[in-house]
Amino acid sequence: MTKDNCKKLVIDIISDIAPDEDLSAIKPDIRLRDQLQLDSMDFLDIVMELRKRHGIEVPEADYGQLASLQSCADYLTPKFVPKA
């Protein structure tokens, strides 16, 4: 898993969570909530989808790591374990 691939997977999730948003020009270093209409419930949805789709657990203490697309990639990429 590369960080670029990880970003794509996160954007896939966000496109389902926030289907009205234009995701074509997300700036990776800007907080997602500063450029998209996302609230705390949406972040819970993102956490749930990471769990469902990729088996990744994000503890509540780490929610801050999902602030921007870049921080998502930095935090999540090592958690993607290749399937045997």
């Binding site: 969570i17 926030a18 289907p19 009205d20 419930m41 819970l44 949805d45 749930m48 469902k52």
Partner: protein, 412 residues
Amino acid sequence: MKPSRIVITGIGLTAPNGNSLAEFRRNLLAGVSGIATVDVRYMGRHPAGMCTFDPLKYQKKKEVRIGTRAGGISIYCAREALADSGLNLEAQDKSRIGIYLGITEHGNVETENEVFNISQFKYDTKFWTHHHNPRTVANNPAGEVSLNMGITGPAYTIGAACAAGNMGLIHAAQMLRLGEVDLAFAGGVSESPQTFGIFAGFKSQNALAAHEDPTKASRPFDQARNGIVISEGGCIYTIERLEDAQARGARIYGEIAGYCVNSDATDYVLPNPERQAECVRKAIAHAGMTIEDIHLVNTHATSTPQGDIQECIAIAEVFKNRTTPPYINNTKSFIGHTMGAAGALELAGNLPSFDDLVIHPTINIDNLDPQCDIPGLVVNQPTAAKQVCSILNNSFGMLGINSTLIIKRFAP
């Protein structure tokens, strides 16, 4: 002091055979059923009534994703009613608007979906959505309307099984008369076909309709009727005090003349014609009318072998001394049983009779059950009426709750 007169000034609806009053009425007069066959989880294909309104007309995709089907139906109907009423919502004191929606049940759909969801994850509840509680609270449909429209007055549902649609209107009339609100969005909604449980429950009760042609599955009063067709739908009215409606030059569809709500207190599911007749009689008395004043009776009959007979017994008993019977019809033969929406939706389908003087029929009667052969029944074809000045609308529900609502043609 004489209570305020309460009038209907706007109608928004979605039914399996129409997404506006005009389309709904057109199909009721043309004999067009809205019933199709749908896949029901775990149960295969069954006849059901599904609505085809565009949920994105008044909601964003994200709101549709987070909310419930009942919420979406409610928002569509409330917004359509608002548009129809000519009211300017932004000019209203939104804290003085009430939202009162009848529901048969709410939350089963969302709970079943989540149980199915976690079944895909070995029933691990960490996969249970955090949206479950706001989706399943009983006030959800009314609450979604308040969120969508920014209405800050009382917004709640009235749980009354299949008598609930009438009760939304009745409650609105009461609250307007009490001066609790100045405007009400009131009616009933249902998302029932999205839950397999209601199909399975009626099937186990031997009360689920089956027919090779789904459009013929809902057939109240026919000898071959074999149960209920489960449908979704909604109908919400704007309800106002007459003086307020007149002050703004509103179009008035009709006036709430009288009503009654009572209980059988005899059985969980079996209806009681004695109490139903009492409910009808009390509603007529409440309206200050006599049996001679009722021109059209819209029946509750759901196409079950026993229930239809019981209602016919009740109606025949109430109107037995009339020289000319009232017209009697049934809307479920077109749209199935829309549960919490039924009373409100079926009333809407008949309100145009005040002006067009046509009574929509009960369709799908190939062989009229002799026990349902009550005088005045309009069978298979619409009939012209000399005058329609009042509609008596019956809606009855499980646990023995009965509601009768009488609307009269508006005369200043």
